[in-house]
């Protein structure tokens, strides 16, 4: 009998967000585009970019904003999402994120010359993370 569910772990440096939840499938923002993982997936590793992880937990559909990291599918139908940060929709302050995003975008748009490459990369990361939060809260 093939499994019809997968076990999902979402781990972050600040502790696990989800541990061993049983889900029918999960959608994640991969480096090469949005991808869905269903039961019986081959063992698989791919990077995750900032975005929204979606899955159904019981009757609820859950959205979690995640930072960069990677996804691992093991042979025993386990999916592990390791990301540097993750926030549930209820933990996100969308208005604050929008204001922050405006500030970051403003910093990014004017005078690229005065900020160095490291600073630029930091801003781009921040931008991706804020956009992920906003997208997670969008209906």
């Amino acid at each position: 009998m093939a499994d019809t569910t997968i076990k999902l772990d979402i781990l972050t440096p600040l502790g696990p967000k989800r541990h061993g939840v049983v889900v029918p499938g999960v959608e994640v923002p991969g480096l090469l585009g949005e991808l869905g993982v269903l039961p019986e997936h081959v063992p698989f590793i791919t990077p995750i970019v900032p975005g929204v992880v979606r899955f159904r937990d019981g009757g609820d559909s859950v959205r979690i904003a995640v930072g960069a990291g990677f996804l691992e599918v093991t042979r025993d139908n386990r999916v592990v999402i390791l990301v540097e940060r993750a926030l549930e929709v209820s933990e996100i302050d969308a208005n604050k994120a929008r204001d922050e995003l405006k500030r970051v975008q403003a910093d990014l748009s004017h005078d690229l010359g005065s900020i160095d490459a490291a600073e630029h990369r930091k801003l781009v990361t921040e931008q991706g993370w804020l956009e992920a939060q906003i997208r997670a809260t969008a209906p």
Binding site: P16, A68, D116, A118
Partner: protein, 304 residues
């Protein structure tokens, strides 16, 4: 009697000291729970990440050896003598038993060994105690950060990781000129084994090596994109994660060490107070007895 007064004031002093140490111990106990949970909560992430990246690196086999052809700049092993940097993680504050002293001593021994092997050693200190310890010797400190807190730990790990990666890859990234180029990067920290035990550890950070080869009987998973691109994405994260883990351990270890140290300091103070009080009472009684004897003696002499 002067002696009695001295003892009395000594008892007061010790009692005041005990107030401080027991307050510190109680504060540490309250913070310990949070720090311990954070350290334990972070471990699954760090271990899993380490395993995955480790098995990826291990699957490269001998490809990562040698001067050229390393799959990723962070794996490049440089032979011969050169310069090493140690990320030396201590606390900002003392009064934590042997916490800072142990790791300082371990690093001193390590530096001596590296020097004997003909390598130049520079330090990147995290935590004021480590810096002040090495400032007095002629040890070159290239960068200093204050000890991380649970709140800014992730950001700090990111910053330090990018500094050491820049030093290792030859300062191409960022353009920091005051960071010298290094051939190896180590990090030294107190591993939080449990509340009573913290072990000083010195581990290699770069070139990145898998810790223990987990004997994976699993089929090698499908990688997307290819292995080298994946390593490019994951290696910086893994380096950051190792530093994060070290910070978590160091924070929990510092608080645990302080709690233990302050606990035993309070116990010692209680013991000292008991001894001093006994001594004080004995002296007081002796003084009374002596006075009585003098009065009696005086009375006897008058009678005679």
């Amino acid at each position: 009697m002067a002696n009695l007064k001295e003892i009395r004031s000594r008892i007061t002093t010790v009692k005041n000291t005990r107030k401080i140490t027991s307050a510190m111990s109680r504060i540490a106990a309250a913070r310990l729970v949070k720090a311990q949970q954070a350290a334990m909560g972070a471990r699954p992430y760090g271990e899993r990440l380490d395993q995955v990246v480790g098995s990826l690196v291990a699957s490269l086999g001998g490809e990562s050896e040698g001067e050229e052809g390393a799959a990723h700049p962070l794996l490049l092993k440089r032979s011969g003598n050169g310069r090493v940097v140690i990320v030396h993680i201590t606390a900002d504050r003392g009064l934590a038993g042997g916490f800072n002293a142990n790791i300082n001593r371990a690093v001193v021994n390590f530096i001596r060994k590296e020097r004997e092997a003909g390598n130049d050693v520079v330090l990147l200190t995290v935590g004021k105690k480590g810096r002040s310890f090495f400032q007095h010797s002629n040890q070159r400190i290239v960068r200093h950060h204050d000890a991380p807190t649970l709140a800014d730990l992730v950001v700090k790990a990111k910053a330090i990781a990018s500094e050491v990666m820049a030093m290792f890859t030859g300062g191409k990234e960022g353009g920091d000129t005051d960071l010298p180029q290094v051939d190896r990067v180590y990090f030294a920290y107190n591993y939080f084994k449990n509340v009573l035990t913290q072990q000083p550890r010195i581990e290699q950070l770069l070139p990145f090596e898998s810790r223990e080869i987990v004997n994976d009987e699993r089929v090698l998973p499908v990688l997307e994109p290819g292995r080298d691109a994946l390593l490019g994405h994951l290696l910086p994260i893994a380096v950051e994660s190792r530093l994060q883990q070290a910070f978590f351990n160091s924070i929990a270890g510092e608080i645990a060490a302080r709690r233990t140290a302050m606990d035993s300091a309070s116990d010692n103070a209680t013991q000292l107070i008991r001894e001093l009080t006994l001594f004080y009472n004995r002296e007081r009684q002796a003084a009374i007895t002596k006075e009585l004897m003098e009065i009696i003696g005086g009375a006897e002499a008058l009678k005679g």
